[in-house]
């Protein structure tokens, strides 16, 4: 089927899909008048009892933690897939080039860029750790903090200090972060089995609200998820970015 025929077919089908979607979404309760009872019940009874002030993160890491373990497994599987695909390709190419390359600056990495990158790394890591630890108190949590923390080493990579980064954080360190985070989450769940009644039950004392060490296992789960997301995204960045940066040096 030619591209033109495909486009025409899609315009027709897409118009039909749009009509069906509009009719279907029109049958929902009007915007702003959500009648759901689960949110009310959960907020009224359970979340207050856990002394957490950020209800969304509390739901994520405590009441619906089983859901979150499933999502983490998806992330783990996706990162494993990327690593398998890219490393297979990397081994097929010449691996000798990598050991001969010196610590290089790619075109455009001036001193200003490196100084700025150093400042940014400090700010990024501090902010990421803050987001991670305060997950159950203010907007934040493991997932957001993981992405922010992964931007730190990425900034170092972009400032041209790629090989320095590889010496400081080689592959096995990043992989340890990721696996440790995933395993940590499961271990906390098993702790709920041992010390509580069910897998992933909140078994630590709840503490006082608005303190850093409150809401039971939520800060621990937040740290575990943060580690895993950081490790996962850093693995993805390093798998995609390393060969292209190195081949820039060869061509100069």
């Amino acid at each position: 089927m030619s591209a033109r025929a495909r486009t025409i077919l899609f315009v027709v089908a897409g118009a039909g899909l749009l009509a069906v979607l509009l009719v279907g979404l029109g049958a929902l309760p009007p915007f702003g008048h959500f009648r759901g009872a689960l949110g009310h019940a959960v907020m009224a009874r359970e979340l207050g009892a856990r002394h957490a002030t950020d209800y969304v993160t509390a739901l994520n890491f405590d009441l619906r933690a089983f859901d979150t373990i499933g999502e983490e497994a998806i992330l783990f599987a996706a990162v494993t897939g990327v690593v398998m695909l890219m490393r297979h390709m990397r081994e097929e190419d010449q691996s000798q080039r990598r050991r001969r390359a010196e610590d290089h600056r790619f075109q455009g990495a001036s001193e200003a860029l490196r100084v700025q990158a150093l400042l940014m790394v400090v700010l990024i890591v501090a902010f990421g750790i803050y987001l991670d630890l305060h997950g159950s108190l203010t907007p934040g949590g493991g997932f957001q903090a993981g992405v922010v923390l992964s931007a730190g080493p990425a900034v170092v990579m972009l400032a041209g200090r790629y090989l320095t980064l590889r010496r400081v954080a080689p592959d096995w360190v990043i992989e340890a972060f990721e696996s440790g985070g995933a395993a940590g989450f499961v271990l906390i769940g098993i702790g709920g089995l041992i010390f509580g009644d069910a897998f992933l039950q909140n078994f630590l004392p709840y503490g006082t609200p608005d303190q850093l060490l409150s809401a039971g296992t939520m800060p621990l789960v937040s740290i575990a998820v943060g580690l895993e997301v950081t490790g996962g995204l850093l693995l993805i960045f390093s798998e995609f970015l390393d060969q292209s940066l190195l081949s820039t040096t060869e061509g100069q």
């Binding site: 915007f31 739901l59 990162v79 992405v147 993805i236």
Partner: protein, 114 residues
Amino acid sequence: MSFLPFAAAAWLFVVGLWGVVTSNHLVRTVICLGVVQASTYLVLLGVGYRHGAKAPIVADVSPHARLVDPVVQVLVLTDIVIEATVAALLLALVVQAHRRFGSVDPARLRALRH
């Protein structure tokens, strides 16, 4: 007027699908898939919204105030990060396909099977 978010979500869904179907570059396909994902986030958050309600963070708001629904926000929150990594997996597949077959055009890749 109150139907606008859902109408916008439906439009984004169809437009993103159009980008996927008529793409001549596999990376374009992945990016337009991201637009389709965003439309689902819009529907979920639009469903849970309540007029005049506050965010479900009770650090400075009384727990008995009117709050928007937190359950749908949980669904969207993890979804955003996870689908970024799934998009990375798709891009790794695109890079592999280019390496094996020399093209990132879906039409040419399809022609290889004949």
